[in-house]
């Protein structure tokens, strides 16, 4: 398979489309022109991109939950509750795991079993099985814009149905919805699948309907150094823009050290702008999303509120356009609607209370952002070099070479050689670079930071440090210290 970062031709796209729409019976209800007309009938205040753009202008941070259940009436009730009681500004529709893996038959079993038992037996909303009309029932029942959130390597049919179904934003990307979510999908394939998604959205854009696109920032949510997730976000933004996408929200998952978190958002935004401009996509609108802590949570609900609130605070101080909110049930299971609203309200309090405070221009933040940008430059230059100027090709080769390498990823196409760990202040550093092509100076910087920690903890730098860091927040800490060290 030969991948290129190039706008799909209409011939290729429509040939592929024919097949895609046949993947499941609900595909036949998708009619592009009718869908464009339907999308145009959605009022501006219910459009994702419009609300994001306003927030960028106002300097406010919007709040958005995750939520999805098997039965669609309950799903509507759930989302209504989250916008009314939870004060959510933006709504999600989180897709179940069978749909994500194109196992539509199993999703159907899940729907049926849920009807029978009266309990949601799926971990999300099976939008594809429901089809265009039920999706429209969902999206039209709500006051706020709704986005599809999932984790689907091959999301082509899901995109068709979702956008025709009235969703105005769509999460994912060829890297970010592959490496953290699958085992055997090659990057070529998922990039190709996401070119389809992006091209479809480009076609809507050309027909006068703007759909917001959001690469999934946090990846595995577990000790991902900002330079890695930021580099992936920039690549996915460039690939999307190449297919005609005009509205992207680039994302990042909280690491926990405030300076590093604010610096990550700052550098993410400015590097995305820089590269999009460089590729002449100067008309693409950019916003940012900050994910509250994406790793293992404490079991205790009150402690979870602490983690959630700190995430909301960091998002606002970083001036992210929106924050994805966790719930006090996070460590245990899919939240009840009450737990979901609780996380939202705690976050809303901080989103509005801290609105007037910004940390973006602190000298320490600027210094940290310089480092992240230097690292991103090393990585992205190498991607460009490997692809001989083609970022799609470069990305495939970069994963092969371990130039892009995501910690704790399940995919066999990920090298898994880079090892991250926290430094003495809780910032995520790189313990062992693998083949991430950092300059000598940067390698030394990381080494010094981790040697400092090792000396403080009186132990050698090792994988045990990484393991300790994975458990730390669940146990109430940021840095996983050995017993007896404060």
């Amino acid at each position: 398979m030969e991948i290129k970062n190039q706008k799909l031709s209409n011939d290729d796209f429509f040939a592929e489309r024919k097949e895609v729409l046949q993947q499941w019976p609900t595909g036949k209800d998708v009619d592009f022109d009718e869908a464009v007309a339907y999308q145009k009938s959605i009022p501006a205040k219910k459009r994702f991109g419009v609300k994001l753009e306003q927030a960028v202008k106002d300097g406010t941070t919007l709040i958005q939950p995750r939520a999805g259940v098997a039965l669609y009436k309950e799903h509507i009730e759930l989302l209504k509750y989250l916008e009314d009681e939870g004060e959510a500004d933006l709504l999600p529709t989180t897709i179940d795991s069978y749909t994500r893996l194109n196992r539509y038959k199993e999703a159907q079993v899940g729907i049926d079993k849920s009807f029978e038992t009266g309990r949601s037996m799926l971990n999300g909303f099976p939008a594809l099985n429901y089809g265009v009309h039920i999706c429209r029932e969902v999206t039209s029942a709500l006051k706020s814009p709704v986005q599809v959130r999932h984790g689907t390597p091959d999301a082509r049919l899901l995109t068709e149905i979702s956008i025709a179904g009235g969703f105005t934003s769509y999460e994912g990307g060829g890297i970010s919805y592959n490496i953290p979510y699958s085992k055997n999908f090659s990057i070529e394939h998922t990039i190709a699948h996401w070119q389809y998604t992006d091209r479809l959205i480009g076609l809507y854009e050309e027909a006068g309907v703007s759909i917001n696109r959001e690469p999934f920032g946090p990846l595995t949510g577990t000790l991902v150094p900002p330079c890695i997730s930021n580099a992936v976000a920039v690549i996915e933004a460039v690939l999307a823009a190449t297919q005609g996408v005009k509205d992207v929200t680039v994302g990042y998952g909280q690491c926990g050290n405030l300076i590093q978190d604010v610096a990550a958002i700052r550098s993410l935004e400015s590097m995305t702008r820089k590269y999009l401009d460089q590729f002449s996509f100067t008309d693409v609108r950019i916003s940012t999303v900050f994910h509250q802590w994406m790793g293992g949570f404490p079991q205790d609900e009150s402690k979870s509120f602490g983690v959630i609130s700190w995430g909301a605070a960091a998002a606002v101080l970083a001036k992210a356009t929106k924050v994805i909110v966790k719930t006090p049930h996070e460590a245990v299971g899919i939240p009840t609607k009450e737990a979901n609203a609780a996380g939202l309200k705690a976050s809303k309090q901080l989103a509005s209370m801290l609105q007037q405070q910004s940390f973006c221009d602190m000298p320490a933040v600027i210094a940290e952002a310089e480092i992240i940008m230097a690292e991103m430059t090393c990585i992205l230059n190498k991607v460009e070099e490997l692809g001989k100027g083609d970022w799609a090709k470069g990305t495939v080769l970069a994963f092969e070479a371990g130039v892009l390498d995501i910690p704790f990823a399940p995919s066999k196409y990920n090298a898994g050689k880079m090892m991250p760990a926290r430094d003495n202040n809780g910032a995520i550093r790189i313990l062992s670079c693998g083949n991430i092509p950092l300059s000598n100076e940067l390698v030394l910087f990381h080494k010094q930071k981790l040697d400092e920690r090792a000396a403080y903890e009186n132990r050698a730098v090792s994988f045990q440090m990484v393991v300790d860091d994975v458990y730390a927040i669940g146990k109430g800490f940021l840095v996983g210290r050995p017993n007896g060290v404060k």
Binding site: S97, Y98, M121, L122, Y181, G333, I334, F408, A409, P410
Partner: protein, 136 residues
Amino acid sequence: METKTIITGVIGADAHAVGNKIIAFALEDAGFKVVNLGVMVSQEEYIDAALETNADAIVVSSLYGHGEIDCNGLRQKCEEAGLKNIPLLVGGNLVVGKQDFAEVEKRFMEMGFTKAYPPGTSLETTIADLKAFTEN
């Protein structure tokens, strides 16, 4: 003590890799021989691996909420394949949502699991129990 062989993996369409990688690391560290199948493991894969390595126990993880659907029938398949009474442990976030664990445990015991573990089970418990279950 002779070295015991453990099969580990995350069942079904579940891609949660972190706990799996750490369990494998910790069991090895604790002296077990670990055959780690990674994420998205089918019932058949566990059984094939257990037969092939003459394993002493199977550790099934399920995090994403579909555990009940994915685990159903595993014990029968083990029996059919000749893995008589092999310890079958399951843990993670087994069901959708925050449910009373006693209830959940009951359902998994009825499915034939030797033991089911609630969210947040520590490595210490996992290792200690595995030692107990694989003792001769």
